[in-house]
Every structure is written in C-alpha cells, then in structure tokens.
Amino acid sequence: MTSAKKIEANRRNALRSTGPRTAAGKARSRKNALRHGLAAVLKDHTVVPEAVAKLASVIAADSSDPLAEAHGITFAEAEMAVRRARAAQAEVLAELLEAETAQSKPQVLVEFIATAMQTVGRLHRYERRALSRRRRAMRELMGIPTASRAPRSRRGFRRSARPTLLQPAPLPPLPLPPPASAAHASRAARPKRLSCPKRKKIDYADPAVLERVSQLARRNLLDDSWLHLFAAGKIESLARWVRRSGFIVWRLNKALAAQKKSEPDDVPHDTS
C-alpha cells in the first residue's frame, strides 16, 4: 500500500502540473483523444472546405431545387467521410503488410492480423454509414423521398414466434359442418399429407461420426488444393468454411471430452 508520505508528495507534485501552457502544447494536447476523427462533428457549419464545395457544385449543377446546394454539400461531405474512412483502412492494411514481411514469429503475426482486421472492421462501419448518408443525399437531391425502414423484429425471434404478453386467450374451435358434396367428402377421406421430417442431428458421441467429421474437416481446411483454388479466385470465401468447420471441431472436442469423462476406469483400484 502507498504510504501517507508518498501520497502527500504526489499531491504536492500534482499542484505543480497545470497542463500545457504554451500555445503549441495546448494545440498538441487538444488532439490527445483523437483516434481517427471519423466520428468528429463539425462545430462551424458556415465554413465549407474547398473540395466539398467543388464536388457539391458539380453534383447540384443540373438540379432546379432551391435546396439543391444544401443537399449537394451533404452529399459531398458524406463522400469526404467515405474517403477518410477508406484512407484509414488502407493505412492499417499497409501496416499489416509491413508487419507480415518484418515479423517471423507466426503466433505474433496471427495475433497482429486479428487486431488489424478488427480495426479495419470498425473503420469499415464508418465507411458504410457515410455511404448511406451519401445515398440519402442523392435521393433528396433528385426529389425522391427517402423510405423509412420496415420495423425490425427482435433479433433471434421470428415475427410469428415472438412471445407476446398481451395475447388474448384462444377461442374454442367451432364445430365444423358436415361435408356438403361428394368432392368434399373424398377430399376429407384422402390421407393426411405427411410433413417433411426434421433434419436428423449428428450424434457426436458416435465414434464413426467423429472419424468422418474430423476427416472432412481436415481435408477441407488443410488440403493445399483448396488453397490453390482459393488463391486463384475459384472459391469466393474460405472463411465461412473455416468458421463452420471450426465450430464442428469445437463440438468434436467437447464430445470427446465428455466421452472421456463418462468412461469408467479400466484399471481396478487396489483396495488391499
């Protein structure tokens, strides 16, 4: 634990630190919390950058709408945001390329790639949002009203299967009238249509299934021919395969562990 003397000394020292004093220091510390600036909100809306104004004037040139200029500026600002997000992504990817050539430890490199991809994913989200803003601005510029999105259902529930608390009690079924015609009678006598059987679940505890699944997983993921096909662009994405197979491998390991746990010990204990 920190001593009282040390705490007192820290407090005395802290009184001397009053942050940056010079203009340059203040200007520098203003950007301490800045990461990429993609979520920044402009405070001064009266000043339009030159590039934005130029693009806006070209975009809104043919429109007769009095609000065209404003929509054009929105469009151009969104386009600039798209470019900034893309430039940030390119920077991260370039850093990754440098690291791949410099770093030799595969484990470190794998972690670096994962982190970089996470960063690129975050930046891509900004790009998508800016693209939506740009699209909306273009529709408004053309005089097309923007459509409101259909209400999104809660994730994981189908609309029909969503639980509702205020559901009234179901009414009792009405007695059906007897069939009026012969055609109706024959239709009623027809055997009931069979429903599609449910998909059989894999029994992961079955050793034959385990062997088959592990064989398939290995062949799909680790065969070099897959890599060649993939590099040549014949296969669109391998990641989905790997995701799915990885899940199966995980289930496989889990099932194996459970199997081991449930097996009784073969060697009898010596009780003498």
């Binding site: 693009l55 975009i59 386009e79 470019r83 430039a87 992504q89 390119a90 370039a94 990754l96 791949e100 430890k105 595969p106 484990q107 490199l109 794998v110 790639i113 994962a114 991809m117 996470q118 690129v120 994913g121 891509h124 998508r128 693209l131 740009r134 273009m138 053309m142 005089g143 097309i144 009203p145 459509a147 999105r149 259909a150 999104r152 994730r155 609309r159 998909r199 059989k200 679940k201 894999i202 398939l216 290995r218 993921l221 680790l222 890599l227 096909l229 993939f230 590099a231 662009g233 994405s237 391998l238 990641a239 989905r240 790997v242 995701r243 799915r244 990885g246 899940f247 199966i248 491998v249």
Partner: protein
Amino acid sequence: MTDPVVLPEMPDIPADVRELLGAPPVRSVAELKAYFGLLRAIAKQYSPRDINEWLLAADQTVSILRTNTLRQHEVNLLKLSEEVVQDERAGTKRRELLVAQLQADRAAGLPDQVPKVPEVPRTREPMDDTRGLVRCLPALEQIGRLSDGYRAQRMSVPRELLDYRKIIASLKAGDIRVDKPMIADKEKAVPDDEQIVDEEEVADTPSLVPSGRKP
C-alpha cells in the same frame, strides 16, 4: 527520396473526373496501378455519364481491391496456422531433448546447468491436428465478416446504378411517380425476418462438402 509514380495515360478517365474522385485509397504503387486499371475496366463496362456514376464505379473498384487484399491475408493466415503448429512441435521436441540431457548430466554426477541443445528445425508433416487453425479462427472470422461487407457493397453498385439511371430517365421524361420510389420498393421486398439463420442448425448439417466443390 522516392521517385514520383508515373501512371499511364488514361484518356477514358477525364482529368476533371480524376480530380473530383480524389486520391485513391491505396498505399503502394502496385495497388495504385491496380486501382486505375480496375477503374478503367469498370468504366468501360458501365460508361459513367456523370460524377455520381463515376463515384459508384470507384466504390466498386475499392470493394474489389479490398476483397482481393483480404483474400491474400486469408491465404497467409491458413499458411501461418500450419507454421504455428510446426513451431509448437519443434519447441516441444527441444524441451524433451533438454530434459533428457539434464537427466543424463545428473546421472553422471555433473552440476546442474542449462545444457546446450541446438534449435530443432521446423518439419513439414501432415497436419493431424487443428491447433493452429483454432488460433487463427478469430482473425479468420473477422476477415470473413469484412469480406461479406465488401462483397455486399460491390454487389449493390450495379443495382444502384440501374436505379439511378431509371430515375434520371423518368425525371427527364417527366413521368416519375414520387409516391412509389423504386429504390425504396426494392429494399422493402426482403423482410428482415427471412434473413435470420440459426447458426447451430447450419453447423449441424451432416455434409461439409457441397456437391461440385470438391477439390
């Protein structure tokens, strides 16, 4: 000091359009050349008529470039997953050798000291475990999500371009119906509920290899 990049003449991309499109989002000369090559090919296909159409063509170019980059990283990762396991195996082997040497030294009555055991080289053996792959899964998953995003972006461009041209044509003809926007109708066509997929159900499918995709 690096030499300035010399790009070939591009008569099919007008100078004012190039200026409005801004700097391409790339960091290397090879990527720059690929970007303009792809943009020219796409422009040849779509024949953009105004700056909005040029921007859409640029969007598609960037999406394709990014997808290709991600594909390269994906291939690298799968190779790395093998190297991770090879590294681990070499480390285990070296540890075993160290312990054996230490035990032999003790049996001979020598004082304890770290024995000198050479580095064990990596050996390329048939992969019979998925440890390396499991290490790479988070990165692969990220790449998969990103690829899906870029692909969706790429696929949306032709549709958007077509809608844009239809609207422009209708505006010129003066028969546009503002109460039924074309873009909005298409977006509403697929309800969100239909897109919900049960991950477990997908993973439980008995066959991992779809027909016609076997190597």
